[in-house]
Every structure is written in structure tokens, then in C-alpha cells.
Amino acid sequence: MNYWRKPLDRDKVKPGDFEVHILKDRCKGCRFCIDFCPRQVLRDSDDLNTKGYRPAAADPAKQCINCGFCVIVCPEFAVSVAMRLEKEPNV
């Protein structure tokens, strides 16, 4: 848990490697993640999910810093942040 706190070898990792995933059909559109994201990474989707809610979606133009708040605030367990670790070949 709390991988975002893992002392990352920052210099070996390129910024912008975080991707926010939202399980669209689990989201109930409460907007907690949207409003409390420190970088405004999230926004409303354009269309409704199968349950009739308007799910949150990541704005590809925005930079997620993997603070993790969206993950832990989501009452639906719908949000995850994925990280691409591009390691130096010789490490």
C-alpha cells in the first residue's frame, strides 16, 4: 500500500509517468476526486456510465503527481494511479 510514498529514485524516473485509472462503471460521480485533486487532473466525463452516473475521467493534458488523494478519497474504490517506471537498462 501507499506506493506513492515509496522513496522513488526520482532522478531515474521521468516525470509524467503517472496515469490515473478510473473504473468507469464503478464511479458514481460524487466528484470528490475531481474537486480535491491538487493538480486538477480529473474532470467530468462527457457521457454517462451504465448506471446513469457521470463518471470522473483524467484530463490527459494535466500532470498527475501521484499524491494518491483521489485513490483514497474515492468511496467506490474506483480510482488507481499507475506508474510507468522506466529504469535505466544497466540498473
Binding site: 462503471d25 466528484r31 474537486d35 448506471k51 485513490v71 483514497i72 474515492c74 468511496p75 488507481s80
Partner: protein
């Protein structure tokens, strides 16, 4: 070389996927609090086979049905004595009570004060949404004076309980309060509570937009979260007798009690040999 790590994989492991989505409303904070509990358990490295969750009846109490561990969804108000039996029958279990405010201090109030008095080795997480969510939002003992509910349409005229005060006066050794916005602190408090011997309580103030917020000018979960943002202040060590919450008033958060006194198991002389 690229490695992907998805954070929610962790929570998904401890949740009954086949029961998602849960029944909670959009903007309800119960899921958020449950998430915090599970993070604390995972971080604490507990063997989930030895963790049991007990709940009563209510929206909050439904949590027991969503976690992947031995879990008991009992009767309204009686979760604590059930948990007491469970714990004493098998003291190796870490027993967690996940309870709504009504369940815990309205119908369950007697068991609450007695479990605290005994310093029974149980950790209680109480989701306080100031009303009975499950039955459609009636006033209860935690409803702030003045609040409108389906049984106090022109404003509740009863004084309300402060759960930390009741817990502390009854003998709890660990008492903390956070809102659904104070998630790191909530998680930390739960982690601490889990390690204490005896009766520990963490109260999580949570939105119930559907039936409570709607009648009290905070019709969405977000409205309620924003209220917490502006109205809450952290005062660790505050006197638990002085942290009552008024309608749309200040919410004092923090760790209020963290003392040591022998737990029930210790007093009763439980040890592996005689069991």
C-alpha cells in the same frame, strides 16, 4: 523496460469484487472510511485470516459484507456484545467493529459504554453521519440541535452526544476523530488504534448527502466535504468533553485520548496456557 503498478490492486484484494458496486449513495463517505481501515490493516501487516469485522445494522454496517475476511453483519446495536463474545472465544483474532453512529450510541449505547468500561480489546470505527441513513434520515442522538431530518422537520430540539466524550468518560483508552477529508490522519489513527490493547475508538465524520445533507443545505457529498474543509480544525489532545459538534459548526478533529490501562484480556488473566 516498463513496469506498471496499479494502486487499487491493493484495495481490490481485500474487497469482495463480486459484490461491487456497493449499495452506498453517490457522495456517501462510508466507502472512503472503509478504504482507510483496509489501508491501515494492510500497512500494519495483519494476517487477514486473523482479522474479523463485526457490524450491526445500517448503511455503515453493510461494510462487513464487502470485506474479504471473516465478517459478521449482526443486529442493530448488538455488534459490540457479539464482538465481545467473538474476541473472548478466540483472543487471537483482531476484532474490528465498523459501526454507524445510530448503531453504536443510540440503540447500542449501553453496550458501547460497557465495552469501554471493561476496556474490551476491540477497535471501533464509527462512521458518524449525524443521522440514521439506512432508514431514510431520521434524527438520532448525534444529530446536531437544529438540524432538519425526516422526524425533525422543523429542526431537532434534542441536544446531541459527542461520541468521543462518551467513549472517554466510559473508559476508552484511545479516542480520535477525523472527517472523510482527513484521510492520512484517519488512516494513522486507525493504525494506532489497532495496536492499542483495550477499547479504542476512531470516529469518522462522513457525508450522507441523500438523506441528511439534502435537508440541511448540503445536498451533495461534495458540499459536506467542503463544509468539513472549512469548519474543521485539528486539536490533538483536546478535552473530549469539549468537542461537541453544532449544526454546521466547528468540527474539532484529532487524537483526544491515548492512555494505558489494563485491557479486559489482561485483567481477566487470559493467556495461551489456560485457553
Amino acid at each position: 523496460m516498463t513496469i506498471e503498478i496499479a494502486n487499487t490492486k491493493v484495495i481490490d484484494q481485500y474487497i469482495r469484487q463480486d459484490r461491487m458496486p456497493h449499495i452506498w449513495c453517490p457522495g456517501c463517505g462510508i466507502g472512503t472510511v472503509l478504504h482507510a481501515l483496509i489501508r491501515s490493516l494492510v500497512k500494519g501487516g495483519y494476517d487477514m485470516d486473523k482479522v474479523a469485522m463485526v457490524s450491526g445494522i445500517g448503511c455503515t454496517a453493510r461494510a462487513a459484507g464487502y470485506v474479504k475476511m471473516d465478517s459478521f453483519h449482526t443486529t442493530h446495536g448488538r455488534a459490540l456484545p457479539f464482538a465481545t463474545g467473538l474476541k473472548l472465544a478466540n483472543p487471537d483474532l483482531k476484532v474490528i467493529l465498523f459501526s454507524g453512529d445510530g448503531d453504536l450510541v443510540s440503540i447500542g449505547g449501553n453496550h458501547f459504554i460497557h465495552a469501554a468500561r471493561r476496556n474490551m480489546d476491540i477497535t471501533v470505527i464509527c462512521v458518524n453521519n449525524f443521522n440514521y441513513g439506512m432508514t431514510g434520515g431520521q434524527m438520532g442522538p448525534t444529530t446536531p440541535t437544529g438540524a432538519r431530518t425526516s422526524t425533525s422537520r422543523s429542526g431537532n430540539y434534542e441536544p446531541s452526544f459527542s461520541i468521543p466524550a462518551l467513549a472517554a468518560a466510559s473508559g476508552a483508552v484511545y479516542v480520535a476523530r477525523w472527517t472523510c477529508l482527513h484521510l492520512r490522519q484517519l488512516e494513522n489513527s486507525i493504525s494506532e488504534a489497532l495496536t492499542r490493547k483495550g477499547f479504542s475508538l476512531v470516529e469518522a465524520i462522513s457525508p450522507c448527502p441523500t438523506v441528511y445533507g439534502r435537508l440541511n443545505k448540503q445536498p451533495t457529498g461534495l458540499d459536506q466535504m467542503k463544509y468539513y474543509q472549512t469548519a474543521s480544525s485539528v486539536e490533538n489532545g483536546a478535552d473530549p468533553m469539549k468537542v461537541g459538534i453544532e449544526l454546521n459548526g466547528k468540527i474539532t478533529c484529532g487524537k483526544f485520548v491515548d492512555i494505558e490501562r489494563p485491557s479486559y484480556l489482561e485483567m481477566a488473566g487470559f493467556d495461551k496456557e489456560t485457553r
